[in-house]
Every structure is written in structure tokens, then in C-alpha cells.
């Protein structure tokens, strides 16, 4: 049921720094996500997880450090072109409320990839099929449930055929009974072979689905590794304290 995806890419962050004025948010983040794998980023609120995602796709420009896709620095690329390669899903969905569900999905392909009306419609419906919402194509986002809205947001990101997908606490704003469905959808994308970076509070999901788990605290990746190691053999005192609070 998936549309042909482009070859997934690897992502690496080297010593990424970012401050807003006097407020330092990222203090040298290192992250390595091999092509086709899933990295879960966990950590307490305010540790810089969401900011890291926005820096990796250059919604914020890093002050220092480098960001590499498939080993090549992307800091000199056109940031708009870079973001077309990276899909992003937000905690609060951020669907465009003045457009229909289908328009939400097809807007970027139509305007950025110059797809014709019929072609875009076909693509949009295929993406909605992929998330099980083809029948809502003509509805307004406001009439959908939270879970449905997040599925549309995922379809919207997928419509640009990204090589990489970011999920920023994609289930945090959902009612508990809707969380599972979205997590299952993310797991499905992983099995389709996409490279994923998932900022999440769902430790069960991180443990079961991620290939790598990175623990962030105060603007740094304090500890990272395979889920078993991070969750069962935490080395640092900070990670141990965090896990004792959330598990």
C-alpha cells in the first residue's frame, strides 16, 4: 500500500550548538542515525529535544557544528530544498484549518513539485489511503478527531516523498486510546524503510521500535545506544534518575 519511497538517507549531527540570545538551548549535540533506522530521542521537558529536530531541518540555524545527510554537510544548501527532503509531524498536528483534508495533503506537491490537479489528487488520495482516511478527503480538519488529524498530518508529510521523517511528540496531544494507532503507523513507516527521528515520551514505543535511543538533558545527548542498553544498563546518573521517574 505504500508509494515508492526514495532511497532513505543517513543523518548525523556533529557538535551542534544553538542559543536564542543569552539562552543556550543546544550545547554540542552529537547524533548518528544510519539510513533506514529509527532513532528515539527521550529526555525531560526543556532538554532541547524539539529544538534539536527544528535545528536538524534548519527551521533554526545552528550557531556551530555540522549537519550531514549521507555524509554530506547540508548547511550550505537551500534550507527550503532541504526541508522538502525531511518530513515533519508535530505535537499539535498544525493542519491548515482553512483547507480540506485533501488540500492539506496536496498543497506542497502542487506548489513545490508543480504537480497537476489530477496527479496531485491521485497522490493525495493514495497518501490518505495509507493512513486510512480516504473517506475524509473533503472534510475540514476541524471536524476530525485528534488521531485522525495526526494521520492527515503524517499523510501530508509523506506526500512530499521525504527521505527522512521527524516526529515531534506526535502522540502527546492525543487521548490515550488514540496513541496506539499513531504509534503503529510510525512503526509501519519504519518497516517501509524510512529513516526516522522520533522525539517521544512513550518509553514502551522507544524500547520496542527504535534502533537507537538517545537521552537528552540540558542541551546535550548525555547517553545513547541500542534500547536494551539504554533502558536496562544506564551508565549515567542523570539517565538513571530520568528512567526511575518515567518507568
Amino acid at each position: 500500500m505504500s508509494t515508492p519511497s526514495p532511497e532513505p538517507v543517513s543523518l548525523a549531527a556533529n557538535d551542534v550548538h544553538l542559543s536564542f540570545g543569552s539562552n543556550t538551548v543546544l550545547r554540542g549535540v552529537d547524533l548518528d542515525v544510519p539510513a533506514g533506522t529509527t532513532a528515539a530521542v527521550i529526555g525531560p521537558s526543556g532538554s532541547g529535544k524539539s529544538t534539536l529536530l527544528r535545528t536538524l531541518n534548519r527551521l533554526h540555524e545552528p550557531d556551530r557544528g555540522d549537519i550531514l545527510l549521507d555524509g554530506r554537510s547540508v548547511l550550505k544548501d537551500d534550507p527550503d530544498a532541504l526541508r522538502q527532503r525531511i518530513g515533519m509531524v508535530f505535537q499539535h498536528f498544525n493542519l491548515f484549518p482553512h483547507r480540506t483534508v485533501l488540500d492539506n495533503v496536496t498543497l506542497a506537491p502542487r506548489k513545490l513539485k508543480r504537480l497537476g490537479g489530477d496527479e496531485a489528487r491521485e497522490l493525495g488520495l493514495a497518501q490518505l489511503d495509507r493512513v486510512g482516511l480516504r473517506h475524509k478527503a473533503d472534510a475540514r480538519p476541524a471536524t476530525l478527531s485528534g488521531g485522525q488529524q495526526q494521520r492527515v498530518a503524517i499523510a501530508r508529510a509523506l506526500a512530499m516523498a521525504p527521505q527522512l521523517m521527524f516526529f515531534d511528540e506526535a502522540t502527546s496531544a492525543l487521548d490515550p486510546e488514540l496513541v496506539k494507532g499513531i504509534l503503529a503507523l510510525i512503526a509501519e513507516l519504519k518497516s517501509d524503510g524510512l529513516t526516522l527521528v522520533v522525539v517521544t515520551h512513550e518509553m514502551g514505543f522507544a524500547r520496542s521500535t527504535a534502533d537507537t535511543v538517545a537521552f537528552m538533558d540540558r542541551g546535550q545527548v548525555v547517553e545513547s545506544g541500542p534500547p536494551q542498553k539504554v533502558f536496562e544498563a544506564a551508565e549515567t546518573e542523570r539517565l538513571q534518575r530520568f528512567l526511575s521517574q518515567v518507568l
Binding site: 508535530f90 498544525n94 506548489k111 476541524a142 501530508r156
Partner: protein
């Protein structure tokens, strides 16, 4: 959206609104049919803009004060004029070759006024037409405000100012004048029974009305050292006097005699001669060819008897001793013996039989004269309404486009965009509308005169549009800024640039949210469009207010203004309800009735402010 859906989302509201709309429309229609179906028995006797005829002649006032040194002191009247045949008609220095553009007013019958056919006329204007006939150019009359008339003549917006202008030294610093064609007395008008019986009874603490910028104002301030109450036009002064909000009115005699009707609760108690000044046409100071040509023309119409005929017909009064029109070489006009005619009229003129009307009757006469409604409505409909709509519509377009640019610049991260937008908004929101209209109309008018052909209409639209832009810009800005940051973020994350994101995602949402505020802005723009009359409009360009005001000026009755007001209501009330409708829809959210999926366990989440 299907009708069922529409009615579902606002059943009660629609019913309510429809009821109100129906009621207002019915009221208006009833009023109009009523007014139009009314027989027109006595329209003529309220028309002050018709020549009163020689039978209405008046003798020299007996109580003339301080006139002695008048004509003898005159150092401006030319000794002679060039013969008409020697005037170079191609070099009159006209703004538009072949057309004499004349700024005039409509509020001072019988000297200057607009008749029931919408034509500017009166003694001054008919005489000017006769003079122009001698010289060649066509005459194009444009209505304006007295306070701006001389400035507009000096700025070459008009070739000639024709408005019973008394030639004072102060005015000669701004404009040049032709030789005199008329002279002026001042009249002192007071409410019937007032203790003020003459100019010597005027004192500080009394409310004495004058029209702003007139010689009467100068006379009160400079000669009598009193502080007058200033009005924009003669009708407003007189209306205030009649309702006893004024203790006295110092008026040009022609106006006083034309305005004060038998049965009015006011009387003319004394006259005084207008010192050493005569009445002449104003021309730009440096345009000597035109002044000389008009002087030649004036002597010519005196010589062939036209001046005497028009004078006797429109403003028959005995000439003050030693004064006569035209250059010093002009022949003395042959006039009937006005004093004798006046003497013969004396018994009839005294309205002994007409008792003063009650206040209620006065109000009814002033506001509810059905004949005037009938007279006003066709003009309001054919001339006023289209002009008001054109002005408002064009200004709205300018306001929307420029306002959007201002809004986008105002939220830009670039300081060089933000600052100019800020300054523009502060300036145009901070200035009174009238000031903007005058600055744009009179300040920029001459600069772009070639483009606009000296037509003030586009300038009025520009001024209104520039003003609206400042407000609309702020409305758009608040709307755009109210759109959640996540919308811009989501759009940029898809790969859209900042400007694409604004255009496709943020601005459409922001604009929807401020539609009610925007419609309110259009309502105030609609009302502000009446201010373009400050710039001077020809008869066919008059908008609702000016049409009502002209008829009001012509008759001294307020009913035409009330009729104009009804037209404004007819436009603004539906708009107000449109605002409420939009507001209601926005608050409750659009309720799209999608067929609900029976298999979908989730209940639709409704977001409050989403459209």
C-alpha cells in the same frame, strides 16, 4: 454550501436579521413612495436660488455706518481697461485651455447658489458667464468650501474664484482680484425680540455667528474686537440663530436678505457698508493676462447693459454713493430707481400677519418637508448614491492592497520594511480625516495636476484609500499575528519559503479572522467619503452628503440632509448585519455537515475558532 446547511447554522439569527432588514426596507420604501407620490405644490417658493426680480429691490440702508471714506480710498480699481478686441484669447493662462475653471459655492443665494436643476448660478456666476462669453472660454463651475477657495485659486486649482469675495488687503496677499462688480453691506441678524438692536450693542460674551474666513469675521475680530463663533457655511449659522443657539449673526446683506424669510423667528436689524472694499473675482496673483481680460470683459458687459440686467434681476439694491462697477473708465450703468420700487413695496414687505411659529412647527418644517424629500431622492439616487459607492469602492481597493502591504511589512523581520510601515500607520491613523483630504487634495493636487487633469475626484479616492490603508493594515496585522506560530512552522517544514507560507497558509487564515473588523472599516470609509466635498466637486461628481447639502443650502431646510442620511443607513445597516453574521459564523465555527463515518469510533473534535 447548500441552503439546508446555511439555515441549519443560523436559523434564529437569520430570522431575526431578516425581520430587521424587512422592517427597515419597508420603512424606507414607504417613505420614498410617500415622498415621491406627493404632489409638488410649492417647490418654487422654497427655492432661494432663483432671481428674485426687480420687484424685490431694496433701497440704500438708512443706518449706514462709517462708509464715508469708502470709494475715495480705493487704490486698486484700474483707471481703464484694454479694449476687448485687443485681448489675446489664446494667452489667458487657463489651467485647461479653452475652459474657465471656476471655484464657487452653493450656499449664498442669490449671489452664488445651485439651482434645482443642479446648475451653479446666482448673480456672480451669471455675470461671470456673460463676461466669459465676451472672451471665448467655456465656463466650468466646481463647488468648494469657502475656507479653501482662495488657497485653491492661488494653487491654480481654479482659474477664478467666484463667491461674492470682498477684496480685503489680507486676501490680496494670497490672490489677485479683478475690478469690482458688486459691493457689500453687512447685515446684523438677530432672533426676533432680541435686545441687540444694532452693531453698537454687540459685546463680549454674546454668541455672534459668522462664516469662517469671511470679511464679517475680520470685521468682528479686527474692528469690533469681539470673538465670533465660526461656522462653515451660511445655512448652519442661520439654523443656529433660528434655534436661538446664537445671539446674533453678522452676514453679507445679500445673504441675509436671501435667507431670512417672512415668518422666520429672526430679523435684520441694521446694515453697515463694507468699508472701502468691493466685491470681485479672485484670480491667481501672477496671472495678470486673465485679470486684465476679465476686467475688459466686465467693462464690456457693463457697456452693453448685461450687468444692469443681471443686477436688477438677482440683487436689486440701490448703489452706495460714489461706487460703480468696473474700471474707473467704465460707463455708469443705467439702473431702475430701486429706492422708489422699494418704497412701493414697503407695506407688502412687512410681514405683520405672520406670527412666529412654534418650536415644534419650526422643527417639523426644517426636518420633515416632504416636497424636499421628493426633490432630493431622485438626485440622491442618480448622482449621490453612485458617487458614494464609487468613492468607497475604489478607496477600499486601495486600502486593501496597500493595507496588506503595510501589514506584511509591519511584521517583517527587516527593520527597513518595518519602520516605514510603522511611521505610515502612525501618521495616517493619527491625522483627522479632513486634514488628510485637504493635504492630499490641495497639497498633491497641483503636483499631479497633469495626471488627474485637475479633477479632485481621483485625489479624494487616493486620500480616502491612503487613510483606510493605515487602519486596514493594522487590522490585517492583528489578524495575521493571531494565527498560531505552528501554522508557519508546519508550512516551512514542508519546504515552503517564508513568502509562500504567508501567502498560502498564514494570511488567508488571518484575513478570515478579521473580516468583521474589516467590514466595520468599510462602514467608516463609506461615511468618510462625504469629506471629499472639501476638494470641490462638479455637480455630477457630488456624493450623497453633498447632494443633500446643496439642496439644504438652496432651501435652508434640513430635510434633504435627513434624506441623505437615510441613504447612508440603507447602505450601512445591511453591512452592520453582515458583520454580525460573519462574527457569529467565526465564533461558532463553520459547521460542515460531512456524512459521519459510522465505523469511526472517534467523535469529531470541534475547534472553536477554526473556519
Amino acid at each position: 454550501m447548500s441552503p439546508t446547511r446555511l439555515s441549519r447554522c443560523g436559523d434564529g439569527y437569520f430570522a431575526n436579521m431578516t425581520r430587521i432588514l424587512k422592517a427597515s426596507v419597508t420603512a424606507l420604501v414607504v417613505l420614498m413612495t410617500f415622498a415621491m407620490g406627493w404632489a409638488p405644490p410649492a417647490v418654487a417658493d422654497v427655492d432661494q436660488c432663483a432671481p428674485p426680480g426687480v420687484q424685490s429691490a431694496s433701497a440704500l440702508p438708512t443706518n449706514l455706518a462709517a462708509a464715508a471714506k469708502g470709494p475715495g480710498e480705493d487704490k486698486y480699481t484700474t483707471a481703464s481697461v484694454a479694449p476687448l478686441a485687443s485681448v489675446n484669447r489664446a494667452a489667458l493662462g487657463l489651467i485647461t485651455p479653452g475652459v474657465l475653471t471656476v471655484g464657487t459655492l452653493s450656499d449664498a443665494p442669490p449671489s452664488i447658489c445651485i439651482d434645482s436643476a443642479g446648475q451653479f448660478t446666482g448673480f456672480d456666476n451669471e455675470l461671470l458667464r456673460a463676461i466669459a462669453d465676451k472672451l471665448g472660454p467655456q465656463v466650468n463651475f466646481v463647488g468648494t468650501e469657502f475656507s479653501g477657495l482662495l488657497a485653491q485659486v492661488a494653487a491654480r486649482r481654479f482659474d477664478v474664484g467666484s463667491s461674492s469675495i470682498t477684496t480685503t488687503d489680507a486676501r490680496r496677499r494670497t490672490v489677485g482680484f479683478t475690478n469690482g462688480y458688486d459691493f457689500g453691506y453687512f447685515s446684523l441678524v438677530v432672533p426676533t425680540g432680541s435686545p441687540i438692536t444694532g452693531f453698537d450693542k454687540l459685546a463680549a460674551g454674546q454668541r455672534i455667528g459668522v462664516v469662517q474666513g469671511t470679511v464679517q469675521e475680520a470685521y468682528l475680530v479686527d474692528t469690533l474686537h469681539l470673538d465670533p463663533v465660526k461656522f462653515p457655511d451660511y445655512n448652519t449659522v442661520y439654523a443656529s440663530l433660528k434655534t436661538r443657539q446664537l445671539d446674533a449673526w453678522v452676514a453679507p446683506s445679500q445673504q441675509a436678505q436671501g435667507t431670512v424669510q417672512a415668518g422666520d423667528p429672526a430679523t435684520i436689524v441694521e446694515n453697515t457698508f463694507s468699508l472701502d472694499n468691493f466685491v470681485a473675482y479672485a484670480v491667481a496673483k501672477e496671472n495678470n493676462p486673465l485679470i486684465d481680460a476679465l476686467n475688459s470683459g466686465l467693462d464690456a458687459v457693463i457697456a452693453d447693459g448685461t450687468w444692469a440686467r443681471l443686477y436688477s434681476d438677482w440683487v436689486p439694491r440701490a448703489l452706495p454713493p460714489g461706487w460703480r462697477p468696473g474700471s474707473k473708465a467704465a460707463l455708469a450703468p443705467t439702473l431702475p430707481d430701486f429706492a422708489a420700487i422699494a418704497a412701493g413695496n414697503a407695506p407688502a414687505a412687512a410681514p405683520s400677519g405672520s406670527a412666529p411659529k412654534s418650536t415644534l412647527a419650526q422643527l417639523k418644517d426644517s426636518f420633515l418637508d416632504w416636497d424636499l424629500y421628493k426633490q432630493a431622492i431622485p438626485d440622491l439616487f442618480k448622482t449621490g448614491l453612485p458617487n458614494t459607492l464609487i468613492l468607497t469602492f475604489c478607496a477600499s481597493i486601495i486600502g486593501l492592497v496597500l493595507g496588506m502591504l503595510l501589514a506584511v511589512a509591519g511584521i517583517s523581520r527587516a527593520r527597513w520594511l518595518r519602520w516605514p510601515a510603522r511611521v505610515y500607520t502612525d501618521v495616517f491613523r493619527g491625522l483627522p480625516e479632513v486634514v488628510v483630504i485637504l493635504i492630499i487634495g490641495l497639497g498633491f493636487g497641483p503636483v499631479v495636476g497633469g495626471l488627474t487633469n485637475n479633477n479632485p475626484y481621483p485625489l479624494g479616492i487616493a486620500a480616502l484609500g491612503l487613510m483606510a490603508a493605515a487602519y486596514v493594515g493594522e487590522i490585517f496585522r492583528s489578524g495575521i499575528q493571531s494565527v498560531e506560530a505552528g501554522q508557519l512552522e508546519a508550512s516551512r517544514a514542508l519546504g515552503f519559503s517564508y513568502s509562500e507560507s504567508m501567502r498560502l497558509v498564514v494570511i488567508p487564515q488571518g484575513v478570515r479572522r478579521v473580516l468583521p473588523a474589516l467590514v466595520n472599516q468599510f462602514i467608516s470609509l463609506l461615511k468618510a467619503s462625504s469629506l471629499v466635498y472639501f476638494l470641490g466637486l462638479i455637480a455630477s461628481q457630488r456624493e450623497l452628503f453633498q447632494v443633500g447639502r446643496d439642496l439644504n443650502a438652496q432651501t435652508g431646510n434640513l430635510s434633504p440632509l435627513v434624506a441623505a442620511g437615510l441613504f447612508y443607513l440603507m447602505l450601512t445597516i445591511p453591512l452592520t448585519h453582515l458583520v454580525n453574521l460573519i462574527d457569529d459564523r467565526l465564533r461558532r465555527g463553520r459547521q460542515v455537515a460531512e456524512p459521519d463515518d459510522p465505523l469511526d469510533p472517534a467523535s469529531p473534535a470541534r475547534t472553536q475558532e477554526m473556519v
